[in-house]
């Protein structure tokens, strides 16, 4: 979205392809440098970056932040915090005011501290989303590179598989596959939670790599006809080296853009999956809290709003940042 502001005149003349012997007043800048400069001048992108970094800090230091604020996931006895008849908290929201011991209040029925759950939930969401985004990017780039560069039978087979996965309805298939993975590998009940965690990531990757593969294949198809690739091939550079040293560096921009737009999609998908009951159960997650909070909504709406605000804020910031990166990297948007 961020409609790029008109750039200063001197800047726009220093196009990436401009000859080196430009007048001395204009400094030559690499395309990456230009992109960074433009990104830095985009206040919306910077604001989103601050939000995203804030969430990243929360995710990495969830435990330390929780103990700093004096909250923890442990609940000594639910009856100390919960009215056993209404199952609602004794102090703090929804009826009481601000409770300094539990800034976000405590969860109904079980009495765990909401702030601690929220902090650790941020960690779960971020880890799942970023792992899934990295893995699906790797798979998509490899498939796209091979299909695009090798062509022929390899291309046809890989594209058939890609189209096959694209026709499968994501939600139903993911919901069907995740329990099977947990059932198959979670033979040890103690490790079931861990297996569930990995099967969520696996499902997201299995049904998430196709767009990247198609994008990369399209880019490679046009790149491989370019002169520098033909030159490399003519002097006998081996294929894996051409792919790594010649083609891959030219794909950095589309990969970065697709990756940064995939991240928010995975945060949302994880929340959706755990709302439907397929997700992690051994550690707090935002989607899980949302699913649990719906039944309490009419008396305790704050309990639902905490994870909702977390998810929405993170997804919007990631999306805005991704859009800004795309605009900054795209030479066509500079005016």
């Amino acid at each position: 979205m961020t409609l790029p502001q008109a750039e200063v005149q001197t800047e726009s003349t220093a196009a990436p392809g401009a000859p080196k012997k430009a007048p001395k007043a204009i400094a030559g800048k690499s395309p990456t440098r230009i992109a960074f400069d433009r990104l830095r001048r985009d206040w919306l992108a910077m604001a989103s970056l601050v939000v995203v970094l804030g969430f990243a800090v929360i995710a990495v230091f969830a435990g330390q932040i929780a103990s700093l604020l004096g909250v923890s996931l442990e609940t000594p006895l639910a009856s100390e915090r919960i009215n056993l008849i209404s199952q609602l908290p004794l102090e703090g929201p929804p009826f009481g005011g601000y409770d300094p011991e539990h800034p976000f209040g405590v969860a109904p029925r079980v009495g765990t501290d909401n702030l601690a759950v929220w902090l650790y939930g941020a960690r779960t969401s971020m880890i799942i989303a970023s792992t899934a985004a990295v893995l699906s990017t790797v798979v998509g780039v490899i498939v796209g590179l091979l299909a695009g560069y090798l062509g022929g039978v390899v291309d046809r087979v890989l594209m058939f598989v890609t189209d096959l996965f694209l026709t499968i309805p994501f939600l139903l298939a993911a919901l069907a596959l995740a329990p099977i993975l947990s059932d198959r590998f979670g033979t040890n009940p103690e490790r079931l939670g861990e297996v569930q965690f990995y099967s969520v990531i696996a499902v997201l990757v299995i049904f998430g790599w196709m767009t990247m593969a198609r994008l990369i294949r399209g880019e490679v198809l046009s790149l491989r006809e370019r002169e520098f690739i033909q030159a490399a091939r003519a002097i006998g550079v081996p294929t894996h080296r051409i792919l790594r040293k010649e083609i891959l560096p030219n794909l950095v921009a589309p990969i970065v853009v697709a990756f940064s737009l995939a991240l928010p999609a995975y945060v949302a998908a994880e929340a959706g999956l755990s709302y439907l009951g397929i997700g992690v159960t051994d550690r707090p997650s935002w989607g899980q809290t949302v699913a649990g909070a719906v039944t309490w909504f009419d008396v305790y709406p704050q309990y639902l709003w905490q994870p909702v605000i977390g998810i929405v804020l993170l997804v919007i910031a990631l999306n805005l940042l991704g859009d800004a990166i795309r605009d900054a990297l795209d030479p066509k948007t500079r005016r």
């Binding site: 026709t167 939600l171 919901l175 099977i180 639902l304 997804v315």
Partner: protein
């Protein structure tokens, strides 16, 4: 043209065939025991290994996988009788996609029974998507660069950043549970009571339609801006046609071509699975059926819903490809 259609159909069939086989194999080898859910359900969660073994025997899981796959595929074309107990058979007519482990009714019959709810939901949402999305996109394109245009585009981007599940959930909770602004959501067959059908689906339509219309706003805005910058638009203006005629008769007509093709695919995905909408608003459609089946490990039903979704998407892809050639005279299909 004919050769193209045949080629596309064959490719679609190949995808479908691969899917049928791979889903069958996945559910055969995937879970530790494919009848675990059924066993627990029949014994009130006191599944014994003897009973499970008996169920596995009854449902043919002790036979070779390939022969059972053959029976399954054969059943799709000719129908078959499925043995339940020692002497109880259930007739499953073609296209037979197996029996639901919960009700022992052929999964295909249940699919047909639930189809109207999902179709009602998808069609109503589609109408809203097109009406709201294309109208606002065209309006934004005509006022390109103004504050209203920028505000609209920003608003659609912000809205599509909210995960749909949260969007639908909050709409449901605030407009249906806390304040009864809208009539209670639910599905009543159209033939039974048209008024109840309309009022029950109104809120789900709005949630699904408005959320998905945002990308159509942006998309039709872009297509409209492209179309309005064409030479023939200038010609139309030059010969003195009114701005309205130019926008709608000349501009919109060509801008609609890419919109219609994208819409075809999106509509297929609406039909294939509106799980969140069906779960949140309590509509007994195909998506909800699939989710319930997954929860009790009712594999034939899961298989059926996944296959149904895939078929819809494949058919939509073929239709869109053909339609594209018909709608856009510049496209020559070979």
């Amino acid at each position: 043209m004919f050769a193209f259609i045949v080629k596309r159909l064959l490719a679609g069939l190949l995808v479908l065939g691969t899917l049928v086989v791979s889903i069958f194999v996945l559910f055969w080898y995937g879970p530790r025991s494919p009848v675990q859910g059924l066993c627990e359900q029949r014994t009130n969660n006191r599944c014994t290994s003897e009973f499970r073994a008996q169920l596995e025997e009854n449902f043919g899981y002790n036979n070779p996988m390939l022969s059972e796959l053959g029976k399954y595929v054969g059943g799709i074309f000719t129908g078959r009788d499925i043995q339940l107990g020692a002497s109880t058979f259930v007739e499953c007519s073609a296209p037979c996609l197996g029996l639901s482990y919960r009700t022992f009714v052929p999964a295909f019959d249940e699919l047909i029974r639930r189809l109207p709810a999902t179709i009602s939901l998808a069609v109503g949402a589609a109408v809203i998507i097109l009406l709201v999305g294309v109208t606002s996109g065209v309006l934004a394109a005509r006022r390109r660069g103004t504050v209203a245009d920028k505000a609209l585009v920003s608003a659609t981007l912000l809205m599509s950043s909210i995960p749909y599940v949260l969007f639908a959930l909050l709409i449901y909770l605030y407009l249906n549970v806390i304040n009864e602004v809208f009539p209670e959501a639910g599905y009543t067959p159209l033939t039974e009571n048209p008024v109840a059908w309309l009022s029950g689906l109104l809120l789900p339509w709005l949630a699904l339609g408005l959320y998905n219309s945002t990308q159509y706003t942006r998309f039709s805005r872009g297509a409209m801006i492209d179309a309005l910058s064409e030479d023939y638009i200038r010609t139309a203006r030059a010969k003195g046609l009114s701005s309205r005629t130019v926008t709608f008769k000349h501009g919109l007509r060509s801008a609609l071509v890419p919109i219609v093709t994208i819409f075809g695919i999106d509509f297929a995905f609406l039909l294939a699975g509106t799980i969140f909408t069906e779960i949140i608003f309590g509509i007994n459609g195909i998506g909800r059926w699939g989710l319930e089946a997954i929860q009790i490990e009712d594999f034939p039903v899961v298989q059926t819903t996944v296959l149904f979704g895939a078929i819809v998407v494949i058919v939509a892809n073929i239709v869109v490809d053909i339609l594209y050639g018909v709608l856009d005279p510049r496209v020559r299909i070979s």
